[in-house]
């Protein structure tokens, strides 16, 4: 899903960062959002609705709708769409009340 060959966008040279999602080790590129890194790794489901359990993913992309909220260990609840992945980050889906 990563775009490597674009006719107009300049190539970015970004170093790899390692993070985990739900305990699974993943590789991301420095500077990308958690949501983008997860999508690149094939993960579209960011949350399950607290009452119905329905799977939810990225919707507005600008930190507005809060659908993409995830839990980052040692940080708390963040919006996956506006938060950058950092080396060593441990990300989980948030449950009721925000905590996993």
């Amino acid at each position: 899903m990563r775009i490597t060959d674009h006719p107009l966008l300049p190539a970015l040279s970004r170093r790899e960062v390692r993070f985990s999602f739900e305990g699974r080790e993943l590789v991301a590129l420095e500077g990308e959002s958690i949501a983008a890194a997860l999508l690149a790794a094939g993960e579209r489901v960011l949350r399950h609705h607290e009452r119905t359990g329905a799977p939810r993913g990225l919707y507005c992309g600008i930190g507005h709708c809060l659908e993409c909220r995830v839990w980052v260990d040692d940080v708390g609840t963040v919006r996956a769409c506006t938060t950058r992945v950092e080396d060593g980050m441990s990300v989980r889906r948030s449950g009721f009340g925000g905590r996993p």
Binding site: H6, P55, Y59, I62, V75, T82, T83
Partner: protein, 409 residues
């Protein structure tokens, strides 16, 4: 922490406003929820009238550099969750680091929080893989990740068409651009005729015969009828992407994620012909319902608003120098009406000058006049009006501000 001015939002308007204040020796901080600055500019990529391409991120980099070199402080990952008159801005440190001020006291505030997208409701719209066109633009152009392999774009308006093209450029198979379900819930986004009225301004940028007809449709009822009724079965190609202005999305389906969509042709009466529904496999659906100002802070502060659909909806009333109905609170950019980046920059500049004056710094009348003229020019030169009539609507805003038309006293 004490500063002279706080700017909420680090997009084109906010950065320009901050630059203006900093250049005149003002202590100014720009606060943005994102880790990087530039707002919507970062993902923008489209053909410009001068020929060549508008690369929003380059404009953003230039604006950011100007702001920094002028002396403005730019702080990201910072969400302004409250503004208190006098002024005090309460800031949430979104990464919980605890190493930055939780509040700033200032003599003036500029709210430049931009616009957000109006929703398009369709059965299945909560499935992972359904997102706004704005989200698709950011994923694709900023993060370089495709929203999917095969996408449907829903909603026929300048932003939707631009994003459809961006997706195609990025190697996404765009199966088409269609209408949303024509439910009352979706206002006129699902209406063929209203859609054509919206597209007139695009005709000069993408001169297809169909869009030229759309431009004519703005003037002539007959042209509108013709344009509404014609269309080849494969869709009209705009920038290489098939636009089906007589096809509507009925439903998004899938087991836990987007797997397919159900489409149907739209009859002459504007209603979908469900007996002719068909399924198309896609893994991403990008919805476009139009943009509206994101003016929560002005609303909470009791600013006067006016509703004008030509500007996107509820707009905080502002005077000729971008001051809201609350003294010391200035507004700039798309939050004052969806008019695009260049107009936003001109508004930011004007607001910045007005802030300087408010802070007691010397600003000559000639400078304010020049900034106002620049804004008028930016408005006249803007080739795409997101909504038809935005120019006139914006021009009328000053009059309404003087009348202090309260929508919600």
């Amino acid at each position: 922490m004490r500063v002279d001015a706080v700017v909420v939002g680090g997009g084109p308007a906010g950065l320009r406003a901050a630059t203006e204040v900093a250049r005149r020796g003002g202590d100014v901080v720009v606060l943005d929820e994102n880790p990087v600055f530039g707002g919507k500019l970062l993902g923008q990529l489209h053909e410009s009238h001068a020929g060549g391409w508008w690369r929003g991120w380059e404009v953003a980099a230039r604006l950011e550099a100007e702001a920094r070199s002028a002396g403005a402080v730019l702080r990201g990952d910072a969400g302004v969750w409250a503004l208190e008159p006098g002024w005090r801005a309460r800031v949430a440190d979104l990464l919980n680091r605890g190493d930055q001020p939780a509040a700033y006291e200032a003599g003036a505030v500029v709210v430049a929080t931009g616009a957000c997208e109006k929703p398009v409701a369709v059965p299945g719209w909560t499935l992972p893989g359904v997102m706004t066109v704005g989200a698709a633009q950011v994923l694709t152009n900023v993060h370089r990740v495709r929203p999917g392999r095969r996408a449907l774009v829903v909603g026929i308006d300048p932003l939707a068409l631009t994003v459809a093209r961006q997706l195609a450029l990025a190697g996404v198979e765009v199966v088409g651009v269609v209408l949303p379900p024509p439910l009352g819930l979706n206002a006129d986004a699902g209406s063929v005729r209203a859609t054509l009225a919206r597209l007139g301004s695009l005709a000069s940028l993408a001169p297809t015969p169909w869009l030229r007809m759309a431009a004519a449709a703005l003037e002539s009822g007959l042209a509108r009828e013709l344009a509404a009724r014609v269309g080849p079965p494969g869709g009209v190609r705009v920038w290489g992407v098939p636009v089906h202005h007589r096809t509507a999305l009925l439903e998004v389906q899938g087991d836990g994620r987007v797997e397919r969509v159900v489409l149907a042709p739209v009859g002459a009466d504007g209603e979908p012909v469900t007996s002719r529904r068909r399924e198309v496999q896609v893994d991403a659906v990008c919805l476009s319902g139009g943009l509206m100002p994101l003016a929560e802070l002005p609303a909470v502060l009791g600013c006067g608003f006016a509703r004008d659909e030509r500007l996107g909806g509820d707009v905080p009333l502002h005077g000729p120098d971008m001051e809201s109905t609350v003294p010391g609170l200035f507004v700039a950019g798309d939050v004052t009406g969806v008019e695009g980046a260049e107009v936003a920059m001109a508004k930011g500049r004007l607001a910045g000058l007005a802030v300087c004056r408010r802070l007691g710094r010397e600003v000559r009348d000639a400078e304010i006049e020049a900034a106002r003229r620049k804004l008028d020019r930016a408005r006249q030169e803007a080739k795409i009006e997101f909504y038809p009539g935005a120019r006139q609507a914006a021009g009328a805003m000053g009059q309404r501000w003087r009348e202090v038309a309260w929508v919600d006293p």
